[in-house]
């Protein structure tokens, strides 16, 4: 296929949108936890992987449709996030003042250890093999674009959730409090925002988004205990490119990454998918060397 046709193909646009919306959902959760608590959750992608396994077992063992399982798994993910926050991270963080540098460096190695444990425990429990199931895979034609039902459903759910969370953050009082903590933590604390409540709710919301993204992943492609990590990398790229607390820019960055990956692979070869992902990752970090914190400070 000549490259002009590649770029104009509706099929690829659809594929890029599906990938991008999934990345947006993953990055949203990562961004919430990072934004409110300054912790880079390296294990975020592994939560996605666990969500995928939950949906897989619900479907293959009990015949539960992933669309029914999705909200349940998201709520379970949120509950796990709440529990972890109460049991471990609140103590780790101490009071309202967060020394960003120290917490970030320590928590990174901590989450790295957690990520290794989750991946390998999953591999011990579920075998390291790839898994997949067939659900809603009949083809729908729209113009000259053919789409499978599961991809349309995934796009709708991921896109809808992202828009819903964005509306929550910009319209509701609780959402505004969350953004206040992300943008100016001390100021939010002084004007009476319940920082503790904001932290547990963003932890729960972030983990819930990860679980939901896992369900969608399991509907789309095969996965293994090690499928989570690329999502962590993608999530990092999105929040570095998009910006902390800037959710619309984050959505755009996720769609951009989906497009880079989909079109890049289509124009070159599938072998280059990881090369592309890591090249964008390295480029994003080198161009914004001190991450988002410094950019945010610079803007003030």
């Amino acid at each position: 296929m000549p490259w002009v046709d590649v770029l104009l193909s509706g099929q690829l646009l659809f594929a890029a949108l599906v990938t991008g919306s999934l990345y947006a959902l993953v990055a949203l959760g990562l961004n919430l936890v990072y934004g409110t608590m300054r912790m880079l959750n390296v294990a975020h992608g592994d939560l996605v992987m666990l969500g995928a396994y939950a949906a897989y077992w619900a479907f293959t063992l009990a015949g539960i449709s992933p669309l029914v399982a999705a909200p349940v798994i998201a709520v379970i993910g949120g509950a796990v996030g709440y529990g972890l926050y109460r049991g471990l991270f609140r103590r780790l963080l101490g009071g309202a003042q967060v020394d960003a540098g120290r917490v970030e460096a320590n928590s990174l190695l901590l989450f790295f250890g957690l990520s290794i444990i989750l991946q390998n425990v999953a591999a011990l429990a579920f075998t390291p093999n790839n898994r997949a199931y067939q659900y809603l895979d009949e083809v729908v034609h729209l113009g000259n674009v053919s789409m499978t039902g599961n991809r349309i459903a995934a796009l709708a759910i991921a896109g809808g959730t992202c828009i819903g969370v964005a509306a929550f953050l910009s319209r509701s009082v609780a959402g505004l409090a969350m953004r206040a903590v992300i943008e100016r933590r001390e100021a939010a604390y002084i004007v009476g925002v319940d920082v503790d409540r904001v932290q547990w709710s963003s932890f729960a919301l972030g983990f819930g988004c990860a679980g939901l993204a896992g369900v969608l992943l399991s509907m789309l492609e095969q996965f293994s205990p090690f499928s989570g990590f690329p999502f962590t990398v993608a999530g990092f790229i999105v929040i570095i490119l998009g910006g902390l607390g800037n959710l619309l820019a984050g959505l755009a960055a996720a769609l951009l990454l989906g497009a880079i990956e989909t079109y890049g692979v289509a124009l070159t070869s599938a072998n280059l998918r990881s090369v592309l992902l890591y090249a964008v990752f390295v480029a994003a970090l080198v161009l914004f060397p001190n991450g988002l914190l410094a950019r945010l400070k610079g803007r003030r």
Partner: protein, 312 residues
């Protein structure tokens, strides 16, 4: 303090003598274990030259190892092996010098994930190039004798230990420590931080490049993904954290502890090994951020009378 230094010297000398005598007495399996211990010593000590001294925690140390191994394999039986191994060290150093400036501008947790990303990018790029040219794996014939490999590795482990010992005591090392404690303050006081960081990065790259080159001769069947395995980087960090301390002694404790664990488990139960490694990482970060050496030092300080502690 003097007693503990004497204990360290004696222990170190006894350990070194045992390691040097190993090929004369042990069978191939035992020599293989000794080789692994020496390899981890060389890798961890060289990692400390950058990461422990400056606080720039690199999660991509394996990239130098992989590049060195790859160079030796690509030039297999076309270049004398000794030159290839030296070339491996030079290649790793050149790579560090090339990427050092942009990469070392990135700080804190961003440097950690960036170093990991650079390592993975190199791995996937070489893998893509290999599969494009149709060589996914290679079989190597005519590797040198095990004892030759062993003594080459012993020399590298010694070199890495001496390097870290020298850096730790030198003026250069004090400069590195100053930028670990407060980079802005060090820069304001006229410490040439950019030059120091880059030099430490290049120095820390040479030895793992040569280690990779030497270890490549051990593998009769060579796969690119294996020599760039990120687990090597993670193991190195775990060893350094377990050991703790600020000089060349601390990492040795961690290496001996983890090398034996990895020897027992990596081949037979790799998943379980990784779970234990992750757990160790979490426990040491949360409970013992200064490692075993820090634990020993704390014991010593507590044992001393209070007036000695108060003295500046």
């Amino acid at each position: 303090m003097n007693a503990s230094r004497r204990a360290w010297t004696l222990g170190g000398l006894a350990g070194a003598a045992a390691l040097l005598a190993l090929p004369a007495f042990g069978n191939d399996y035992v020599v293989g274990v000794g080789l692994t211990v020496l390899m981890w010593i060389a890798l961890t000590q060289s990692w400390c030259v950058l990461s422990k001294m400056t606080g720039y925690v690199s999660l991509g140390h394996v990239v130098f190892y992989g590049l060195g191994a790859y160079l030796v394999v690509v030039t297999w039986q076309q270049v004398p092996l000794a030159f290839a191994v030296l070339g491996a060290g030079l290649l790793a150093a050149a790579f560090a010098a090339l990427v050092g400036l942009p990469v070392l501008r990135v700080r804190g947790p961003y440097f950690v994930i960036l170093s990991f990303g650079v390592s993975e990018l190199v791995k996937f790029s070489i893998m893509a190039a290999e599969s494009a040219s149709g060589t996914a794996s290679r079989i190597l014939f005519g590797a040198p004798d095990l004892s030759v490999i062993y003594y080459a590795m012993a020399a590298l482990a010694l070199a890495a230990t001496l390097l870290l010992g020298w850096v730790s005591r030198s003026r250069f090392g004090h400069g590195l420590r100053s930028l670990r404690e407060n980079e802005e303050a060090a820069e304001t006081l006229g410490v040439p931080i950019v030059r120091l960081k880059l030099l430490a990065f290049v120095l820390s790259a040479v030895i793992p490049g040569m280690v990779g080159g030497v270890m490549a001769t051990r593998s009769t069947y060579f796969v690119v993904g294996q020599v760039f395995d990120p687990m090597v980087s993670i193991t190195v960090i775990a060893m350094a954290i377990i050991g703790g301390g600020d000089d060349a002694k601390g990492p040795l404790l961690g290496v001996v502890f983890l090398a034996l664990l990895s020897e027992l488990l990596w081949a037979r139960a790799p998943l379980l090994y990784m779970v234990i490694l992750g757990a160790i990482l979490i426990v040491f970060v949360l409970v013992l951020p200064n490692g075993l050496a820090g634990l020993a030092a704390r014991g010593r300080t507590a044992a001393r009378p209070p007036d000695a502690r108060a003295a500046p």
